[in-house]
Symmetry: C2
Subunit: 234 residues, 2 copies
């Protein structure tokens, strides 16, 4: 099994995900939100690219759906929740559909279409993601959402952590990008200490989201592996 | 001053180099060859994309020019020299024009057109490149040639070394990609120990080019900073 890494949603090339297992990562915070929502009984998540598409989807598809997401890190006007994973408790999301639009994460998910399987990864469910990667037994492209089309330290080290979980269980071949992510993780296994170098971390702190940050760095506390199939994450 | 890093020739976007100082790096081995040739009195280097273009340029422009470069790491049929920097001694290259085509390096140079200045970096001239970056005083895009369009560990750590040389002399703002390269370099200041993880390193060893590898890892032994202007490197 070969594991590659794509550094941002803008750098996805179809040939690099084609027929592989794509693992989409936007640990701060979209894929942490999705993982948390599904773990808390959310029926499905529909990732959409625009606010207009989100509103239209709710109107036409499920009037009881929850609208979540962010623009510039903030809750969108008229939406029910922001991009904060701790908002998505069992009480509010259990049994519901979540329609979600974020700046980086949803783009990375939709950009990965063409992969054989698209699964959702975060620090929260890394161990479970690794097990699913091994089960699926195809080559892997870890797709970092990145931040505004740029390499982002948070997603990079999260990728390194997932790679480490796979490597603990089987022999894998890593591309240079994947090797470097793994190296950075092995030098910073607590994750938080290295994520603090991220430009994105500064933004999260500016917005007063330290609690979200701490939550998103909790390692393998959730067992679910959300999967994107035909426009929906189950 | 802001320093960004582009991970491969295939990932260059015009907006990311526009009006900046672009520092092109292909340490194994194109930019090490160019730096060595210029340090040894080569009059100019003309980087071209194809073998046909190389032959045509010699015919039409300078019949005494030296042809150098590689395909799959090997010397090209009918060319004078390969992509081995140690071949480009004062005796063979002094006063001559070098027409050069390589798989990754020349693509990265030509792909950086649109930058305000395009300079050629390697481990060999890192300190001198840093001084030139400071003199030029514009934002910087370090353009890694990469290997066959992929992130390459060798260019990444070489970038980290150049960033470190700049940081020793002035305060700079680094993007996440540049920060990570700097981090990796600071953990592996000898460079060789980390380059050994590179896929590209395996290829160099397969070809029996250990001497080239050792040479390309010599830190700041050359003072020249080749610059690409109007199709020529002087």
């Amino acid at each position: 099994m070969k594991i590659d890494l794509i550094i941002s949603a803008e750098d996805i090339k179809k040939a690099k995900v084609y027929k592989k297992t794509a693992v989409v990562i936007d640990m701060l915070r979209a894929t942490s939100v999705i993982t948390t929502a599904i773990a808390n009984g959310c029926e499905k998540v529909i990732p959409v690219l625009t606010i207009e598409e989100a509103l239209k989807t709710r109107k036409e598809y499920d009037k009881k759906a929850i609208l979540g997401g962010e623009r510039k890190g903030l809750k969108i006007e008229g939406f029910d929740f922001s991009n904060s994973p701790i908002e998505y408790s069992k009480e509010v999301i259990g049994g519901k559909t979540l329609i979600m639009t974020t700046t980086n994460g949803t783009r990375a998910i939709r950009g990965s279409e063409g992969a054989k399987d698209i699964i959702i990864g975060s620090v929260l469910n890394a161990e479970a993601v690794a097990n699913r990667i091994i089960e699926l037994n195809n080559d892997v492209a870890i797709v970092n959402a990145g931040t505004y089309g740029e390499f982002s330290i948070d997603d990079f080290i999260c990728s390194g952590y997932i790679i480490s979980c796979v490597k603990n269980k089987m022999k894998v071949e890593l591309t240079d990008a994947a090797k470097t992510a793994y190296y950075v993780y092995k030098k910073n296994e607590d994750i938080e200490s290295f994520v603090k170098y991220a430009k994105h971390y500064e933004r999260i702190m500016e917005l007063g989201l330290e609690e979200d940050f701490k939550y998103c760095c909790r390692k393998s506390t959730l067992k679910v592996v959300p999967q994107f199939i035909n426009g929906e994450i189950l």
